[in-house]
Each structure stands twice: as C-alpha cells, then as structure tokens.
Symmetry: C2
C-alpha cells in the first residue's frame, strides 16, 4: 500500500561534507553541507547547493573567489561538523572555535582544512540558482588525502575514512555500514539468465 | 602527511537511486544512479546527473517526457539495482528482466517502480550539460511511500528503508550504519563553550 508524504527534498541518506573558501579578506570560511553530488567524470566535476535565502557567508566567499574545497569529516568529527553547519561565519570564527586549522590549497585559492583526511580542490565552472539554493558546479583540480586512509594502490578506504552519512528525515548522522555486494558485478546474474532466488 | 591522488569525481559515499521515465512510446525505462542530490528546500528540488556521452536511454526519455521518478532500492535489491545500472535500455527490458513492475505516477507522466518502497515524482525544471554529464534539476511534486517503512508521524526510517550506499572507490554497495550523533544538536557544545574532550 503506497501513501503520499508531505513534500520535501528527500535527502536521506546523503554524504556530509564541509565546503571551505576564502572571503574577500582572505579569511577562511566553512559550512557543512548535505547537498552534494559528483556530476561529471570527464572532466571530474562535482556540484554543491547552498541556501541562497539564508545567511551563508561561505556561499558569498565561493562566489567571490571562484574556488572552494570540500572535505569529509569522519565519525569522530561529528561535533565539529555539526557546529560548522549550525553557526554562521558572519557571527563566528567556526574553524577556530572547533580547534581546526587550514592551509592554502595547492591548485586553487581556497583553504584546505588540515584535520580532514580527504579534501578536494574545486574550481567553479557553473552557477545557477533554482528555488531556495544556488547550485555551484566545480571542476576537481586536486585531491589531497592523508596517507593513513590509503591502501597500497592509492585508493582510500571508507573503513579508514569513516565518513558521516546524514539522515535528514531523522536529523542525525550515521556511519557507513557493512558491504552488501560488489557493484557492476552482482547484477550480472541477470545477464547470465540466472534467477537470484 | 597529505598526498595528491589521481583526479576523479570522488563519489564515496553516495546514495544509490533508480531513475525511471517513459520513452516516446510510453515504455518504462530505468537506470541506477549515484550522481544525485537534493538541491532546494523551497520548492523541494533534486538534481541528478546522467552520462550524456554514453548510451543512456533513460536520459533520452527524461528529456523527451520532462518528468521522471527516483526510487530507493534496498539492500535486498542490490542485484536488481546493479543490473539496471549495468545494462542499457536500448538492448534490454531491464525492469521486466529483474521481475519488477511499474504504475503511472500520480502527478507526473513517469513510471513508479512498485517494488521500491520510497519513490519521488519529479517535474524537470532545469537542464545543463557540464563535462560528460547532463544535470537535470526537477521539482518534487509527489512522494509515495510504502506504509511499512513509516513511523507514527509519517516519517520513514532508514532502518526500515535500508537504502544502498554506493562506494565508487571500491565499487561496492554498503548498508547505512549506526547512528553517530544528532544533527543540529551535538555541535551546540561549541556554542556553550564546552570542550568536547
């Protein structure tokens, strides 16, 4: 039995990421976001959406500088990530308040948060405002990772990155769970004409 | 110690969703996607990105019909979801092959996959192609849910929806994990000036 629910931009589950940019004075701003997705393989691009109707200093800084980084907070950084999503950069020096530090990115004019183990340097290529949010698509021009989350092939492991998943419906953070199946593989059972039962 | 990684559109972790649309003959197409995010609260909108350089019949169907649904496969549907992401609708009747069925959506001209417990009906409002992928932003005009994933307040539970998380880096599906913290709450420790240690 299907039932219609109250309309909302269903956002469960989504990754939790922190976007960071320099303001016009070169000060690092950051905000925690759930509205994020990769959007192109060639060249590699990603898109974030930030509320344009609210007080969002990081949005202004990204539009000013044309660059930002995104980083993945881990399950031990939920408190810091949550505060960076709650407070406004107009009123708080959020990065300093949570005890974090930044270094200028290698390829773009944006801050990398040193305490995040995986950071992506992004150059803005498209901006469009639809509804309440501004969508910013950016090309990935560098990815920085801590060594300790990489395997011998240079691939990071979610078991070591331990990213935060956001559950908007119940307003909570979750960890990523156990492996269910191999992608681009388990489904081949249907090509072989096998029943999965 | 930070290290630069090979460039890619880092997509770990992302939700796994299935987009469905009618082609010009009214036949239901579907494809599994990891490039998806909510993008506006007011009105509720979401954005998907589909590879425009590859054979993607569902993309053509969405551009033709101006509407689609997205649905959430669960951990028991990884095999079906994977096949719908592997095969092309030009060569396969994927929905029938996995034993699924569709019903016309209530508010848009698009198919709802009956076997998915949460489906969102979407009306296309913006299209832009950046890099290899076409980004389609759509307004959420209806959400259909099976009763058995809802709580008494009409909110769905990820513990009952059991969505698939996609890990591009290791090409596998994961389950959502355990609760880490309450969002918009745990971070307030910093407002109170408390140390979290």
């Amino acid at each position: 039995m299907k039932r219609s629910l109250k309309l909302r931009a269903v956002v469960s589950p989504t990754p939790t990421i922190i976007a960071a940019a320099y303001d016009e004075n070169g000060k690092a701003d950051a905000c925690t976001l759930a509205f994020y997705t990769p959007t192109s393989h060639v060249p590699p691009c990603l898109t974030i959406a930030i509320n344009a109707t609210a007080k969002r200093k990081t949005l202004k800084s990204i539009l000013h500088s044309g660059a930002f980084t995104i980083g993945y907070p881990n399950v031990d950084q939920a408190t810091e990530a949550d505060w960076i999503g709650i407070a406004s950069g107009y009123d708080h020096d959020k990065i300093a308040e949570v005890g974090w530090t930044t270094t200028k990115a290698e390829k773009v004019n944006a801050p990398v948060i040193n305490e995040l183990k995986l950071s992506i340097e992004c150059k803005v290529v498209n901006i469009v405002t639809i509804g309440s949010h501004t969508q910013i698509t950016a090309e990935v021009v560098n990815i920085q990772s801590d060594e300790d989350i990489l395997d011998e092939r240079g691939k990071y492991s979610l078991e070591k990155l331990r990213p935060l998943i956001y559950d908007e419906e119940k307003r909570r953070y979750l960890a990523a769970g156990e492996k269910v199946a191999d992608a681009f593989k388990v489904g081949l059972a249907f090509r072989r004409g096998e029943s999965r039962l």
